[in-house]
């Protein structure tokens, strides 16, 4: 199960598991964004390299226009994935409480 939607405060909320079967759904949604975006990852349980590719492609596109993605509420497993992938160098990442 994977869901992506806007919250009332304007953040993009990710829920569930962003795996290879959900790549297109996530990419289609993020392709519509064109300004600074906060990705609320508090309920994102899992991400694989397919999901990382979606985030990387979106970050490249946004930064080319002076905007970026910021990841908040990142759990410990996701933090490990981001660190091993070098994403902590190219994204602003705020861990979960």
């Amino acid at each position: 199960m994977f869901e992506i939607e806007r919250s009332d405060d304007g953040a993009v909320v990710l829920r569930g598991r962003l795996d290879a079967a959900q790549r297109e759904k996530a990419q289609q949604y993020l392709d519509e964004l064109d300004s600074n975006v906060v990705l609320d990852c508090r309920n994102l349980e899992y991400i694989s390299s397919a999901g990382l590719g979606v985030l990387l492609k979106t970050q490249k596109r946004l930064m080319a226009h002076g905007s970026n993605l910021r990841l908040v509420g990142v759990n410990s497993h996701l933090r490990d994935v981001f660190r091993y992938s070098g994403f902590d160098r190219i994204f602003e990442i705020e861990p979960a409480d």
Binding site: D19, A20, A21, K57, Y84, I90
Partner: protein, 154 residues
């Protein structure tokens, strides 16, 4: 040891995750290892699906309890040899504009698995990847990130 076969499609991922989580629960394996095991299995299975030539059938996955963790294998047949342990490392320190959106899968497999072994049986054109994931310090665990290769030639 438990074994299940899965259709060669990304749509199988949900069923695969049910298999891994069911195995962890029934065998009382440390649930803290499950996200890493799911990640490794997904990356290996996705690799099989995306590089499929259309010849192969369903993909068997076997899981076995070892001391302080699990050993998992994926089998792909019939295929040409492709030793994933010999794929060059990805440089994750490169700046954003030089990063590729794909190619991180095997890098993550190396990072999260205790060990990865590749076997190829020429007679049956059968490729088998075995990895082990344990909690740190278990007697069965090997040096993190270590890789082994064993070609089974007839």
């Amino acid at each position: 040891m438990k074994r299940m076969t899965f259709k060669r499609s990304l749509d199988s991922l949900e069923e695969i995750f049910q298999f891994t989580s069911g195995f962890f629960a029934s065998q009382r394996v440390d649930p803290g290892l499950l996200p890493a095991v799911d990640l490794i299995v997904e990356e290996l299975f996705t690799n099989v699906v995306e590089h499929s030539t259309g010849e192969g059938g369903d993909v068997p996955i076997e899981m076995e309890v070892v001391s302080d963790g699990v050993e998992v294998s994926l089998t792909d047949q019939p295929v040409d040899p492709f030793d994933i342990t010999q794929v060059p490392e990805v440089d994750v320190s490169r700046p954003l504009e030089e990063r590729d959106e794909r190619g991180l899968g095997l890098h993550l497999v190396r990072q999260f698995a205790d060990s990865v072994e590749y076997q190829y049986e020429y007679r049956n054109r059968c490729s088998r990847i075995i990895f082990r994931k344990t909690g740190s310090g278990g007697p069965e665990s090997t040096e993190p990130g270590s890789e082994e290769k064993r070609d089974v030639r007839d």
